[in-house]
């Protein structure tokens, strides 16, 4: 009897050790969940044959990363981060600076760091996508004239009903200033002044009584569907995904969209560092960048991916009933960029605390 127990124990210990070994080999990729994570799963992980990658979701912010790095007990390898966090995290040493020569150049030989719409902010980041904050509404909500500019979002008389906006200032601040008549190239210069910021909150005051706040990406769709609000801001991919894949009757107003960068980073002291870097090289290659746009209408950060997508149309959901052309749904098309504001993450890293405090005070008022 004793022997049997010993044997069982040994076998158990061995299989546990094997499991632990297997778990150690799998790279952990932390992303935002929903259709976005699904697109990363299909475009990066399903096409990756050199190892296992597990995906988990988080709700943004660097709280967990800093806690893991400070305690020396790092569990995450790769994190999908917002632009201002890509900067502060790299400043603080929460992310590892990567050898840029490892990454694959574009098909025409352009190095990765030059194959971007913006200057690469530091050596920690690996390109992901462009996404944007956009206003949207149901096609059936308004009779007659339809909202077409950012002014319409702030015009409660012409387009009655409540407005859904998020609980932090990024995006909405720029939109409010643009709707107050400031030209797009001047937005951050004006925001640097006290009067500029007062202008923002004066504009926001005009809709204050008719605002419903959301804090998670799926919420604005609920708010609009249930009629709680007539128009809402949302992440463009959430709307595009619902329209393209599920035939939802949403209309996106591209004027005044605020475009944000999205980066992948490697956490300092990542448990599977080497495997993670290997995967990052795969995920940031032009081909995978184009591949992600097969499943969601976020724009690849590397312009070299665009010709591949164009040539492959209908690129979205290939072979499925919902197959569609994707290029016209990208936030970065020439037409959508006419009223598009490129967010300035450095400005936000500098002023985010103060502006968001003021925004919170405005919310609580």
């Amino acid at each position: 009897m004793k022997k049997v127990i010993t044997k069982t124990l040994i076998a158990g210990a061995i299989s546990a050790a094997m499991l632990a070994g297997a778990a150690q080999a799998a790279v952990t990729l932390v992303s935002w969940g929903g259709g976005y994570s699904a697109s990363q799963q299909k475009a990066y992980i399903d096409t990756y044959s050199s190892g296992e990658v597990n995906m988990i979701s988080y709700n943004g912010g660097l709280g967990e990363v800093r806690a893991q790095v400070e305690s020396g007990n790092v569990l995450w390898d790769i994190v999908d981060v917002l632009p201002s966090q890509a900067r502060t995290g790299c400043d603080e040493g929460l992310f590892e600076e990567l050898d840029r020569s490892l990454f694959l150049p574009a098909p025409d030989g352009t190095p990765m760091d030059e194959d971007l719409l913006v200057d690469v902010p530091n050596d920690c980041v690996v390109p992901q996508i462009w996404w944007s904050y956009v206003p949207f509404h149901l096609g059936s909500t308004f009779k007659g004239e339809q909202p077409s500019t950012i002014n319409d979002f702030f015009d409660l008389e012409k387009f009655p009903g409540k407005r859904g906006i998020h609980t932090w200032g990024n995006g909405i601040v720029e939109m409010a200033l643009y709707a107050s008549g400031v030209a797009i190239p001047d937005i951050y210069d004006v925001l640097d002044t006290q009067e500029g910021q007062d202008m923002v909150f004066a504009k926001l005051d005009t809709i204050k009584d008719d605002v419903v706040f959301w804090s998670s990406g799926a919420k604005p769709l609920d708010l609009v569907n249930s009629g709680e609000v007539s128009m809402s801001l949302a992440y463009n991919g959430r709307i595009g995904g619902a329209v393209l894949a599920d035939g939802a009757d949403y209309v996106t107003v591209w004027d005044g969209q605020v475009l944000e960068e999205e980066w992948l980073v490697l956490v300092t002291g990542a448990p599977n560092r080497a495997a993670a870097i290997h995967f990052l090289i795969h995920a940031s290659a032009t081909e995978q960048q184009a591949g992600q746009a097969r499943w969601i209408n976020y724009a690849p950060m590397r312009p070299s991916a665009l010709p591949i997508m164009e040539a492959g149309e209908p690129w979205f959901n290939p072979g499925l009933a919902t197959e569609a052309n994707i290029m016209e749904h990208m936030p970065t098309t020439d037409e959508h960029m006419k009223g598009g504001i490129l967010a300035d993450p450095d400005w936000w890293a500098d002023n985010g605390q103060a502006v968001n405090d003021r925004y919170a005070a405005w919310m609580a008022k």
Partner: protein
């Protein structure tokens, strides 16, 4: 008797082996003490490790400004001798900043890895909490002032970042000429600071470390603290009003029926928090079950009704689409949902105390001439106070730190301090401020406990 000790009227009591009884007793008592201490050792370590240490860390983080003082010692030393803080500081202070940057960026940890760069990066984040723009100003300066010669690998001093510093720095970036940046250093100059606590109640330090109010449009936390107290109090009161009759029913009905009722109380208690919150969203939202029902069943007469006799004119009797009551994503929503979620925490302690009140007391009171109401108020209610106290304290303490419910249903005016702690932890990474708010919450709860003990007595508390 004679087997265990020898009775001697002159000397001390002795045991069989001749040791004084006192000594022997002490020995055996000590053994028992050690044994019992060993028994509690594991839970004690557990509490120390998982409870006391994190709280101590939290406390220390809320006053900790050591890192920035490690990075800028020369600058802060110069700050002490800067006399008129309304004009730009002297050349020495400008030089101190650059020297600090040059020294700090070379700091290595015990393993020889450079941590100075990250220390400067973190200082930038810290300084931005005091004045917007510090981060990019500092990082730009670090980037430009530290150059390494490509061939010799030796550090060189770019002449643009050399003496005279004041003139050249302002030329490189005009923000160095803004006195507000320099003034904001005052709040960070000591390794231990009360600044985070001040921030948490809408105050701040000025250049001379006097405490002043923040500008009007940045005052947010006082409102949130008051709202947190208000929500917690209201939820506690509503829970009490709802829980008392239910508990009374549970305690007095025959076992068979009260068991079924008890399941009705416990079922939601066992259901996931998120499920219950989402269910409330479906009920309460603008186009939710309740509003839709009201719009459908309430009569809608055309025109207005005048009731001049009651002084009311132009009453709109119609409950149409535009009259839908906003019950979700606001203060009301937070109160309703939290009351429902916390109700069992009130019912269970009150119920268990009520179960212990003998029904004969009420009968005796009525036999002695009291009306049922009077008997209930004078005899029954005072005996249920320990349960009420326990329920109220429990609900209030749980409510004051609530986070997920306000986050989901709070909307514009239903957010509580827990949401702001989360924001500072996750989004802005201002852990000092989050720790200060957490500590204040902790002390609010301790204060409540003290008040309760003072007025009602903690030994009166009965959880069941």
């Amino acid at each position: 008797m004679s087997n265990t000790s020898t009775i001697n009227s002159q000397g001390p009591l002795l045991t069989n082996d001749g040791v004084p009884l006192k000594e022997s007793l002490r020995k055996s008592l000590r053994r028992t003490k050690i044994r019992s201490f060993l028994l509690i050792l594991v839970p004690l370590l557990f509490v120390l490790l998982l409870f006391v240490t994190p709280i101590a860390q939290l406390l220390s983080r809320s006053v900790d400004d050591i890192k920035i003082n490690e990075a800028f010692p020369l600058t802060f030393a110069q700050y002490e001798v800067w006399e008129d803080k309304s004009i730009l500081p002297s050349e020495e202070m400008f030089a101190a900043v650059i020297n600090d940057i040059r020294i700090t960026h070379k700091i290595e940890n015990s393993e020889g890895r450079n941590i100075g760069k990250n220390l400067l990066g973190r200082s930038g984040t810290r300084m931005t909490y005091e004045y917007s723009g510090w981060r990019s100003l500092l990082l730009k300066t670090v980037k430009e002032a530290i150059k390494v010669d490509k061939k010799s690998k030796e550090e060189i001093k770019p002449y643009k970042w050399d003496a005279p510093y004041k003139e050249r720095m302002i030329k490189r970036d005009k923000r160095w000429g803004k006195v507000e940046f320099w003034q904001s250093l005052g709040a960070m100059k000591d390794p231990y600071t009360m600044g985070y606590y001040l921030n948490a109640v809408d105050l701040r330090y000025d250049a001379n470390k006097n405490i002043i109010q923040k500008v009007e449009y940045l005052r947010v936390y006082k409102t949130i603290w008051m709202r947190t107290l208000q929500v917690s109090l209201m939820v506690t009161i509503f829970c009490l009003i709802l829980a008392y009759p239910v508990s009374y029913l549970l305690a007095t009905l025959p076992m068979r029926i009260s068991n079924i009722l008890m399941i009705c109380v416990l079922m939601p208690f066992w259901t996931s928090l998120l499920v219950r919150i989402v269910a409330w969203m479906i009920m309460l939202q603008q186009h939710g079950v309740i509003n839709d029902t009201l719009v459908t069943i309430l009569p809608c007469f055309e025109g207005m009704v005048n009731l001049p006799f009651f002084g009311a004119t132009n009453i709109d009797l119609c409950f149409g689409d535009e009259d839908r009551i906003p019950m979700m994503y606001n203060f009301t929503g937070t109160i309703i949902v939290m009351t429902q979620i916390l109700l069992p925490f009130m019912i269970l302690p009150i119920y268990s105390v009520m179960r212990g009140i003998p029904p004969s007391y009420m009968k005796a009171a009525q036999n002695l001439g009291a009306t049922p109401t009077w008997a209930f108020i004078r005899v029954y209610m005072p005996q249920s106070v320990p349960g009420i106290g326990a329920g109220c304290i429990l609900v209030f303490i749980v409510a004051i730190g609530y986070y997920i419910t306000p986050e989901l249903v709070g909307g514009k005016d239903g957010l509580m301090i827990g949401n702001f702690v989360a924001r500072e932890m996750q989004q802005t990474l201002n852990w000092g401020l989050a720790a200060a708010m957490g500590t204040m919450l902790l002390f609010a709860v301790l204060a409540l406990y003290w008040v309760y003990d003072k007025f009602i007595g903690i030994d009166n508390l009965k959880m069941g």
